[in-house]
Subunit: 137 residues, 2 copies
DNA sequence: GCGATTTTTAGAATCATTCTAAAGGGTGTT
DNA sequence: AACACCCTTTAGAATGATTCTAAAAATCGC
């Protein structure tokens, strides 16, 4: 019987990633990791936290999103040069981006196949291959 | 013999796109459409204009970049949520993004093949399929 | 509980981009 | 040329997302 057997799933989730499960981080983690695929901006998550009566500063939302990202619990997606998005799905996958509603929707990795990737530039490492299908209408 | 036979290539380029070839637009177009593949931010182009002794306001650089983009002379690329890039290559192609130096390099369309694109969401139109290969090191 | 280390916070600062409103330029008409 | 009309350029202010600062609060190991 490990010493953590009685911890909630969310606390375990944070501990496993090496993130100290403070009150605020737990509250945000509960909102983020609820099973749905989520693509949130800092401002969106801040609003959501307030709706759930969690008192938190916007700076802490930013701190936490970056912290979770560094710990591998989130990944950052760039689709809009005005706003950053964070994705709760950290596995390899791609995205639809609805330009009108600014919504992101996952494209599972197996729904798309990339062939003949060009040679990696000398001395460089590929960090990620991003595919964004921009749709509107 | 058309009435435009004696115009410079740059003026013709703008006229053909339906853009009035004003002094400032011509200066920026000369910098942008010099044959190289270019991926510039507004700030980069502004600095370049000043280096070439072109007196221009940053607002005009933004106006012109957006104008050229609307006219199909440029396209906008999103790789960094802090800054927008404009690409002089408006044909279909993809990009390497060097995360350390913030540089973009073209990947020709034939260097990469995408198979099995997922179904387009109902009622939507695909505006573009973007591929960004992020590299570092 | 205590002291060391993190975390949280409000508010200011930063930075890219857009907006405003006024001045400047181009073009066609008389 | 003078005029009218419309488009462009401009400086500077405004905006909005994000980061920074420095001090207060929370957390952790002992
Ligand atoms: Mn970031
Ligand atoms: Mn734009
Ligand atoms: Zn996703
Ligand atoms: Zn390009």
């Amino acid at each position: 019987m490990s010493t953590n057997d009685c911890l909630s799933g969310t606390i375990r989730h944070l501990l496993d990633a090496g993130v100290r499960p403070t009150r605020h981080r737990l509250a945000l983690a509960e909102l983020l990791f609820d099973g749905r695929e989520r693509h949130v901006s800092a401002e969106m998550l801040n609003v959501e936290a307030r709706e759930h009566l969690v008192s938190i500063s916007l700076a802490t939302v930013y701190n936490t999103l970056h912290h979770f990202t560094a710990a591998g619990l989130l990944r950052e997606i760039v689709v809009d040069s005005r706003r950053g998005y964070f994705d709760t799905n950290t596995s390899d996958h791609y995205h639809f981006f609805y330009e009108d509603s600014l919504c992101l929707v996952d494209i599972p990795i197996e729904a798309l196949e990339i062939m003949r990737l060009p040679a990696t530039p000398a001395g460089k490492t590929i960090r990620r291959v991003e595919v964004v299908v921009r749709v509107s209408g």
